[in-house]
Symmetry: C2
C-alpha cells in the first residue's frame, strides 16, 4: 500500500511526523505538505501564484516535499508532479486542534482528505482535540489502524472519513464511534484593537465550535464524551429533496 | 428586505457592482467584500492574521466595506461588526467565471453563500460562465429575480442555491433548470517553469471542470446547453448510508 500523507499545520509540525512514523509500519508513505502552516484555509487552491517545492529532511533523513500551497494543492501536486499517478490512499493530519462539526468547511486538513476523495482515492483526515499540550501518540496509532481497515473495506466513491481523537491516554478513551457531522455554526466574534499607528484592526475568535447538540450521534458531543469519532463525509452536496421543490417553484425562464 | 452582498473577485470587481444595482431595486443592500481578489480560496477563514476594514466608494457614492479577508470572513465580519445582527439574505457574486461541478469546493464566492447558510440565512451564490468578455447584465437580473423568489419561498435550513448563468444574451438562453452538482473532478495539471534566478516553479492549470457527464440534470452539462442552473447545496455532509456500515465495520476500541 502506498499512502500520500499531508496536513495543514505544515511539513515541520509534530502531528504529521507522529503519524508518519506509524504509517511507515504498514505502508510506503510519500509526504507532500505545506511548507508553512496553512490552518483554516478550507479547500482553497493556488491558481494566481506560482507553486514552489522544496525537499525537507527530518530526523536526519529525507522526509518529504514542502509545497508553497494549501493541503488541496499538495494532493494535486503530489499526483500531478511527484508521483505522476494516484496513491492507494490519502491521509491528512494529525491536525493540532479538533475538526468536528462545521470545522469540516474551514479546515485545510479536512480539505486534503476531501481532495483525495474527489479524485476517487480512499481518504482519511485525522485531528487531535487539543490546542495546548498535544499528545499525538494514540491518535497516530488510530490513524494507522483506520488506514488498514479502509484499505480492506474501502469507502463509497467520493466519501472520506473525518476522524477526531481526544487528547487523552488510551486508558481514558471510551471507544470508537461512527458519528454524524455536527451542524452548530462557529459564531465568529471579533476583538477590536488599535495598531501602533492608531488604526483599528480586528482579530477573529470563536475557534472552537459550540458543542450544544447533545445527540450521542454527533461528532462534537461524542468527542467531548471521550470517544474517537469517525464521520463519513460525502462530496455530492446536492440537496436532492429540494431539487424537486425548486422544479415546481422556479419559472421556466426569467 | 435587507441583503448582505459579498463576492470573491473583490469589492472593486464589475460583477458585484452589476448585481448591487439590480438588488438595490428590490432591497436594502449592505456590501461587505474582500478588498482584493480572493478567487479559489474555498471556505478559508482568517484566524492567524488581523482583519482590516476600509470604506469603499464607487460611482461617487459610498458602496461598501472592503475587508482584508475571504468571502466567509466578510459574512462573519458583516454580522459580527458592521450589522451587529443577521441580514435577511446573503447573496454572493456575480463571480467572473463558472462555479459548477466541483468548483463548489474551491470557490470563495460559493463559500460566501455557504457561510450564510451555516448561520441559518437564506443564501445564493451566482456566477457567470465566462473568463473573457463577461456581460453581467442578464446574470444580475437573474440574481435579483431569484432573491425575490427565495424571499417568498424560503430554503431548507442549511441549504443554499448555487446559480450559474451562461454568458449570453437573454434571447439565446434556453431557460432555468434545477440541477445537481456535477462530480467530475478538476484534474490539476502543472506547468513547470524557471524563474530569473534559475529556480523551478509551477503554475497550476485546469481551472475549468471537465464537462464529461452528459446528464441533463447535472449543472455543468445544463450550463453548457445554455440553461441557467440552480443547484441546491446542503451543509450537512454526513454520508448517512455509510454511518451504518461503519458501525458494523469499526472495532469498539483500538
Amino acid at each position: 500500500m502506498h499512502i500520500l500523507l499531508t496536513n495543514d499545520d505544515g511539513i515541520y509540525a509534530d502531528g504529521i511526523y507522529a503519524l508518519y512514523l506509524e504509517l511507515k509500519k504498514i505502508a510506503k508513505v510519500t509526504v507532500v505538505a505545506p511548507d508553512t502552516e496553512r490552518s483554516s484555509v478550507g479547500h482553497g487552491i493556488t491558481l494566481a501564484h506560482p507553486i514552489w517545492q522544496k525537499k525537507v529532511r527530518r530526523g536526519n533523513k529525507f522526509f518529504g516535499d514542502g509545497i508553497s500551497g494549501t493541503p488541496a494543492d499538495c494532493v494535486k501536486f503530489a499526483i500531478g508532479v511527484i508521483l505522476k499517478g494516484k496513491p492507494d490512499m490519502v491521509v491528512s493530519g494529525i491536525n493540532h486542534g479538533p475538526n468536528d462539526g462545521c470545522s469540516v468547511f474551514y479546515s485545510g486538513t479536512v480539505a486534503g482528505a476531501r481532495e483525495g476523495a474527489l479524485l476517487g482515492i480512499p481518504s482519511i483526515a485525522i485531528s487531535l482535540d487539543a490546542f495546548l499540550n498535544p499528545d499525538f501518540s494514540y491518535a497516530a496509532k488510530c490513524g494507522a489502524r483506520l488506514a488498514k481497515i479502509i484499505a480492506n473495506e474501502g469507502l463509497p466513491n467520493g466519501t472520506f472519513l473525518n476522524v477526531n481523537v481526544p487528547n487523552l491516554k488510551r486508558s481514558r478513551i471510551r471507544g470508537i464511534k461512527a458519528t454524524h457531522q455536527g451542524l452548530v455554526p462557529l459564531h465568529g466574534t471579533f476583538q477590536k484593537r488599535t495598531d501602533p499607528h492608531w488604526r483599528n484592526y480586528y482579530w477573529m475568535t470563536g475557534r472552537m465550535p459550540l458543542r450544544g447538540n447533545k445527540s450521542k450521534h454527533v461528532d462534537s458531543y461524542a468527542l467531548q464524551q471521550r470517544f474517537v469519532t469517525v464521520t463519513p463525509i460525502r462530496s455530492d452536496l446536492t440537496d436532492y429533496g429540494h431539487v424537486q421543490q425548486l422544479d415546481r417553484t422556479l419559472p421556466k425562464t426569467f
